[in-house]
């Protein structure tokens, strides 16, 4: 079993707020900020902590300003599960 966690970094000063990234994010993690960057554009921010690092947003971004990170955390399957005779105590051995 593996758990995938993603994150992105957006160069907000170069963002033009086109929202193409937000529209292609399957996790609906992205939204326009209420704030403006120095060029006067509403920029994109991550509003949810559910990014999977799928890179969709970066693929469609015309400005090429999204960096995507992905980490696969390996969750070890337990080596053994021991239960006592009365069945009221279970011990899981992970490694």
């Amino acid at each position: 079993m593996a758990k995938v966690k993603g994150d992105i970094i957006i160069d907000i000063e170069k963002c033009k707020g086109c929202e193409l990234c937000a529209a292609s994010c399957p996790q609906e993690s992205l939204e326009l900020s209420r704030k403006l960057n120095s060029k006067g554009y509403h920029y994109i921010v991550k509003i949810e902590d559910n990014c999977t690092g799928c890179i969709n947003c970066a693929l469609v971004c015309p400005e090429g300003i999204i960096k995507v990170y992905r980490k696969t955390e390996k969750r070890m399957d337990p080596v053994a599960t021991l239960t006592n005779v009365t069945g009221d105590l279970t011990v899981t051995v992970n490694s």
Binding site: K16, E31, V45, K46, I47, L59, P62, I65, I66
Partner: protein, 272 residues
Amino acid sequence: MNEKRMLGEDHYEQVIAEESICTNENLVYEKPETLTDTPMHYCPGCGHGVAHRLIAEAIAELDIQDKTVGVAPVGCSVFMYNYMNIDMTEAAHGRASAVATGIKRVLPDKYVFSYQGDGDLAAIGTGETIHTCNRGENILIVFINNGIYGMTGGQMAPTTLVGMKSTTTPYGRDVAVMGNPLKITELIAQLPGVYYCTRVAVNTPANVRRAKKAIVNGFKYQELKKGLSFVEVVSNCPSNWKMTPLESNKWMEENMFPFYPLGDLKVPGKEK
């Protein structure tokens, strides 16, 4: 402007501060180094930016940065050479494929491509386009078809759809007066000099991946010296279509794609 957004912004900063996975070892995507850091001048949501990045990615992937020469057109993408970290030049309106021919013939070991809009390639440059393709020059032509003269303010192009409004067709393109839109890609696909011909788009992640593959193919085929590769990118022009970027992509899917269907027109080894 909802409440979630406010919460979202605060939350975002917290997440970054807590435990960031944004380290080099976890990096899975960033723009290639074959694209400069210069901010592009394109309107928000314009397909030119993605098309540039895909060419840059293809060059990086094939490791041909120092062996590639590009030719920029006249049109919105006239400053393409500022964004591409490769050798590039700029041609007079419509003449990019002729200039690319000259470069390739003098420097046959270089990977040569031209990048041209529909006004450039299919109007003023029709002659150059057809003859370059017919001669089977070993170059790649990337054709950005947004159905309009973008740079000059949205006049009708040969590719403008029937009924489509532009500054020169304010009541929509009328076939009786302006003729039918020109499918130049179908036209040149028949020429024996054309080795590979395909039509792609850059509006969705899946289409972006396909478009990149087509451009990579185009560069790879140059080595075979069997003729010309032609990649049409059906694109948007939110500003002159007078739409938001998202609306323009939807309009493109509903109106441009039926007339300019995506897919291969000519693939080596699969002659129709």
